[in-house]
Amino acid sequence: MILVSNRKLTADVHELILQGNLAKDVPQPGQFVDLKVPRADLLLRRPISIASVDNDTITLVIRASGEGTKALCARHIGETMDVLGPLGHGFPIDFLKTDQTALLIGGGIGIPPLLQLAKELHDQRVKVTIVLGFQTKAALFYHDEFERYGTVLIATDDGSFQTQGTVETVLDQQLKDLSADAVYACGPKGLNRMVITRYKHHPHAYVSLEERMACGIGACAACVCQKDNDPIHNLKVCEDGPVFRTSEVSL
């Protein structure tokens, strides 16, 4: 795919827009692509979730934290990127009807795939409440974008923007009475674990997990997670996920 836009959302988070046929082939929000790093010494592709899809482009949000993601974020407009995908299973939404409610919970670099989800739920006339957690105000991104699709509540660890605390603080303090028909989450391990515990028995609660991957397609068994109540089998995050029902996984 061709890189058509590369802009900084925060000090270390980049938004990359890629153009190509792959964009026409993304059936579900929450799927990911596997990007080849343009360096011969870095062998493993980087799994990056798709933040949004628009005709012939996909948008990816990448935090430049290690050498591979830094190299990806340093790509220039017009360059070709080697993209494998779309991979994995995303967030199911078809079961929701007009005026039902969905609660979206995101943290940090886990937030991007929720954007396409929010858009599609909004298009489906579902009422969307979005709770996002960031370390600090300076780390905030996509606030305006999410506000187009629903009510947005934000928590920052240091209290520099809206609620001080975590997304759980917002759920406890501001959304006690919300009974959502569907819950969707993606964030760091702590957030995902909280969501799995809190919504274990919710009939439509989904969480997108992250794990170090090698092949990205289910062949190498690197990125597994524990299957609930099953001592013999586990699940592959890349192939069976990355989105799972809260009832089927343990973290």
Partner: protein, 307 residues
Amino acid sequence: MNRLSVTLPGLDLKNPIMPASGCFGFGEEFAQLYDLNLLGAIMVKATTLEPRLGNPTPRVAETYGGMLNAIGLQNPGLDEVLAKKLPFLAQFDLPVIANVAGSTEEDYVEVCRKITQAPNVRAIELNISCPNVKHGGIAFGTDPQTAYRLTKACKAVCKVPLYVKLSPNVTDIVAIALAVEKGGADGITMINTLLGMRIDLKTRKPVLANITGGLSGPAIKPVSIRMIHQVSQAVKIPIIGMGGVSNVDDVLEMIMAGASAVAIGTANFTDPMICPDIINALPQRMDELNITSIESLIESIRKERHG
């Protein structure tokens, strides 16, 4: 005449390229990307008697020019491999090399005894070199006597040729190679991964949950080339080479080192099309290097070594 074809015990290969065990599952995922009939053969994921969950995560870590893995032999167990995984591969014109692992000699023998019956299994690869399990695996591959004994016991129940996969984590790999040859091995596959480790500077803890893992990728190719060169001079049985191969030149270099066929491992992760790409690139590169056929190259190297 097919200038890419090679013949090894139990294996008539249309070309010398096959995916290495553990990097290709049982072929189901890659079959969605390309026609597996293109491959010379397939080395499927290690199979143990009982299903195994493998190690805790993280199971992989990147290193310069390589990667560490500590999957820990996760596999669905012999029964499911026989009932589902091998039958899936039967739709292809593709010799299967079944990788067999275990914790005890009895485990290995039992898996060999059953998997050798599967109609598309043309050879068995005895995995005495997995560095990522507490019991078995590499323990069978670091002592010549133990390697000899296990090879002999498994050979007795195998109805197809038996290859033994050697570990590079030994002082003298030739001694192990000679021991498995004496034990009745029909061939050798080499090398498995090199034991390695990485530490996360922020947490000050090992990156891998298993602490150590097996190093693979281009970083280890000089080691695999050296070891294949050494072993091919000492044994008469053929070698399927592997260890850091990621392009057509690496394949020819490994054959020049003494291998009769070449397996591709980690490179499948970087580029899932790598095996068919290398197969396509072979004829032109052979022309440039005045190589008439893979068989003639193997023969000329063999003559040089053994007269």
